[in-house]
Symmetry: C2
Subunit: 553 residues, 2 copies
């Protein structure tokens, strides 16, 4: 039997558009001889629909969409297996199920429900979905299929040191002697997750001697980026097919042919490194956020620093140079180099560049506030003011020109609060808010691997906010080579200050200073733009801390 | 046996401070002859601790805090029953439990775990807590106690038309023939919840013929306000004791005395109406947010409108007139009345009032942007600019004076996006962000019941943003008498446009226009300050919608 993995990019709530894509991909798969076309988890309504799942009208629309899909594919030679939310049947508990429907010749052959509902990090599935009955193997043309949905396959006792669930739907299904295991996923990207996912599925394939086919969503949805990377493994856990990462794709697997041995895989299977993957993820996440919000154009404030340079480069690759405008907004404390470097960057990228001086506005603010500031010395107030003037200017351009502002802050800044609410934090999307500063540098060096995209001067100057004379980031913060490992240990892995100081050989007081800054800045992060997630633990929905606390470190 | 309900106001993470309060209240209860002192859910670590529960170091600190509490109360004549998170024991699943510990004479008599873990609206408990073993009745001096934690008691099949859980811990405990049922709660306030909670507990008391004692947390924690209102019901479901709402309290119940018949209750039992309750909740929520964040002073931008007037009145009652500063920031479009009315309001409240004209800044922005705006007509850009100038001025005052800015937007504005990101949306806390405009009016009228707090001119003028000549809210929006019912039906109850139009007799196109505005404004709400929750469904953590969607209404 030939099975197609149809990796498409749906939009949450766009039933019409998603169905069109599903029908078109099914038709293409049928033309290629596939007897079954597999789509990703919740592909019909888009993933993640979040609280739309609490609306009865949304679930009712899902049900009619399944009927429409059955009708539209009734005459095709391929069956269709696709994910969708549906109303739950029970009298108790949650009102929705996370389902896979198998449609063939216009009939519903199977409605199967996800059993393991993740509720950690960015996942809230127990908020929405009912726990449901065990899955059953289903036959198509006499071939016995075991169907699981994403997390259902993430509880293998041989693979994980600690399991999150007491049941294992894969084991239950394998007792029913299936010939192939198909997993529908919407598994968001974070760096180094792809090999884990592949090895985990390979371990399952090997343990049961049953091939695994996984179709994963591709595309950006707010903070989440789905990488696709759908794949097929034979019963020995060897890779026999691999779809592209970060773009739509259709891959046909012939389980009956000798080619189900690992053969010549397409180029996509040669996986790029983590740095390249993060860059491609951010390009996709930016493109989809802007377009799914109904926009084409973006604005980036260019400070002459490395963060805004990287964001501009990502924006250009995501949307095309003609849709990106860089805006330099020098203050009296901006170096001449900053403006030249920004201009050079814009030239390298081929994007429009505009310059708006803020000295007049800064003076007018100072004059206006003078009566209320009498006798008080300059402090961070004046630094924040410059930042907020820039924020207001960018938003005015955004309003007038119908272009989204991209926020340029990195994860190190967001972590310690080295950023200004309503100032440099303005914008629709925090493109690199999940990259610590040292990773920003690494990606920029990678971008420059063949030719200079980011001007060398930007890569080489010491980081500075340029909000007062001769300011350097290291005036307020430890060097990033020390700060970033502390942040990754504390923010991403929840290690204690004592453990971090010991593990890295850093002075405890520096670690504790950083931790205090992190804890004190939560209020800023809760008003931040959505951050594109590329690590296992990013700021945003996946990390939920209260503000009004007294943390005893 | 005499049992004390000790309703205290803990702070998340403040183990030292919380333990001090618990020990002091236990001592007072012992002095009043109580043999058992009951505290609220998670009182030792503060509620809700959110992702602190994922830190092993936090759970370890909880464990040592229990030991400290046992030692500190070892010599007292009262046992102590208190809520705390503790590390889970199992090899699979979540790593924490939501526990109640019973300490007597320095020994741990019982560690019991919450079984029903809410995961809807603002609750994420299945994100953190393990499902655990059934509860057991425990004896203290021969009296059989059934102990439940909050949600454990919220699944009564006789009370709820649809239940969320298949098990009922109360029924299981009642089979063990307890003499009293004690519920530790951290049950957040929303208007009209208190009678539901009381009637539900009364139904349970009656059905099993067992008295119910409920100790509820009091205090504000970010968006959530806990009203206290701890109570005792006899086995006939009659109220026999009632603690205060919105303040700390200690109530002693003598179950053995004839007074366990409903007698003369203290004044607190006479419950105020919904309008008054919402006001008191907002005062408490504001006070606790500001103080638990380590601040004393606040700033309120006074526009001359009713929203900022109400926020200033709440701030004054929460923090004292000497800690509130009102700031008027008139533009060329501000009416003379607006300034006079703000001044009058400040005088009524006894707060400081400052005036900062923004015309100079508006002109300077216009001049600065002219080259990029050439040939384009004025539009909402210029309106937003005025709002953002005001936001920047308030934040500058906040930075310089160490005072938090209180945001003044109401729920109607937040719903339809009739507010400016980084403009009037700036601030640390959105005090009235869960009150639709018509409720803002109702509360202001109630505030004025004895004497004029809100100047009559503010109550009587038609709502206007005053961002262009002769602007009125009704230029862009339906009148609030129409808008607010639509919003409550759509946002709070998830009704469809068709149902709403039919139920209220409004034209469908008006309802659909409002719904489109709500859907289009999600990006603004996700960057809003935390909103004090006073309805069953407020914007914020309890309502999670994606931004990049294509909603097909």
């Amino acid at each position: 039997m030939k099975i197609a993995l149809a990796q498409i990019n749906p939009t949450v709530g766009d039933f019409t558009g998603n169905l069109e894509k599903i029908v078109a991909a099914s038709r293409r798969a049928a033309d290629l001889g596939a007897r079954l076309t597999v789509f990703s988890e919740l592909v019909i309504c888009g993933y993640p629909p979040a609280d739309f799942l609490e609306k009865p009208s949304f679930l009712a629309r899902c049900r009619t969409a399944v009927d429409e899909l059955a009708a539209a594919t009734a005459e095709m030679s391929t069956a269709v297996l696709a994910g969708v939310a549906l109303p739950a049947e029970g009298e108790t508990g949650k009102r929705a199920v996370n389902a896979a429907v198998l449609l063939d010749g216009g009939r519903l052959l199977l409605e199967q429900h996800k059993r393991l509902l993740p509720f950690y990090d960015v996942f809230d599935e127990q908020r929405y979905f009912a726990n449901t009955r065990p899955q059953q193997v289903v036959e198509l043309d006499g071939v016995r299929l075991a169907i699981t949905i994403c997390e259902d396959a993430w509880n293998d006792k041989g693979f994980w040191p600690r399991r999150l669930y007491t049941i294992d739907p894969v084991e239950e299904l394998m007792r029913q002697r299936p010939e192939v295991h198909i997993n529908l996923s919407s598994s968001p990207f974070w760096h180094s997750k792809r090999p884990i996912r592949r090895e985990m599925l390979a371990a399952i394939a090997r343990r049961h001697g049953v091939p695994v086919l996984m179709c994963n969503q591709v595309g950006g949805n707010d903070s989440l980026i789905f990488d696709g990377s759908s794949l097929a493994l034979n019963g020995s856990g060897e890779l026999i097919a691999q779809a592209a990462s970060f773009e739509e794709d259709l891959v046909v697997v012939d389980l009956g042919s000798p080619a189900s041995a690992p053969g010549n895989l397409p180029a996509a299977a040669a996986e790029e490194n983590d740095t390249a993957a993060a860059y491609h993820a951010l390009v996709l996440g930016t493109r989809d956020y802007v377009r799914k919000c109904g926009f084409r154009k973006v604005l980036v404030g260019l400070s002459g620093g490395i963060d805004s340079a990287l964001v501009a480069a990502i924006a250009k690759d995501a949307l095309g140079a003609e849709n990106v405008m860089g805006v330099g907004m020098p203050s009296p404390y901006s170096s001449a180099g900053s403006i030249d470097d920004s201009r050079q960057l814009a030239a390298n990228l081929g994007i429009r560049f505009e310059l708006i001086g803020i000295s007049g506005l800064f003076e007018e603010f100072t004059r206006t506030l003078e009566p209320l500031f009498a006798g008080m010395k300059p402090d961070t107030t004046e630094e924040n003011l410059q930042s907020r003037i820039r924020g207001s200017l960018l938003m005015a351009l955004s309003n007038k020109h119908g272009a989204l502002v991209l926020t340029t802050g990195n994860k190190s800044e967001m972590a310690v609060g080295y950023c200004t609410l309503y100032g440099d934090m303005v914008g629709a999307l925090a493109v690199i808010g999940d990259l610590v500063k040292t990773r920003v540098y690494a990606i920029c060096r990678w971008l420059n691997r063949d030719c200079e995209v980011i001007p060398r001067a930007i890569l080489e100057k010491p980081p500075s906010a340029e909000l007062r004379p001769d300011q350097k980031d290291t005036d307020s913060l430890p060097p990033y080579e020390i700060l970033d490992p502390i942040l990754e240990a504390y923010v991403e892995r929840y290690e204690t200050p004592e453990c971090i100081a010991k593990a890295y050989g850093f002075p405890l007081e520096i670690v504790e200073q950083v931790v205090r800054l992190v804890e004190r800045s939560e209020y800023k992060r809760q008003q931040a733009a959505p951050i594109l997630k590329v690590t296992a633990k990013s700021f945003g929905m996946g990390r939920r801390f209260p503000i009004a606390v007294k943390v005893q470190v």
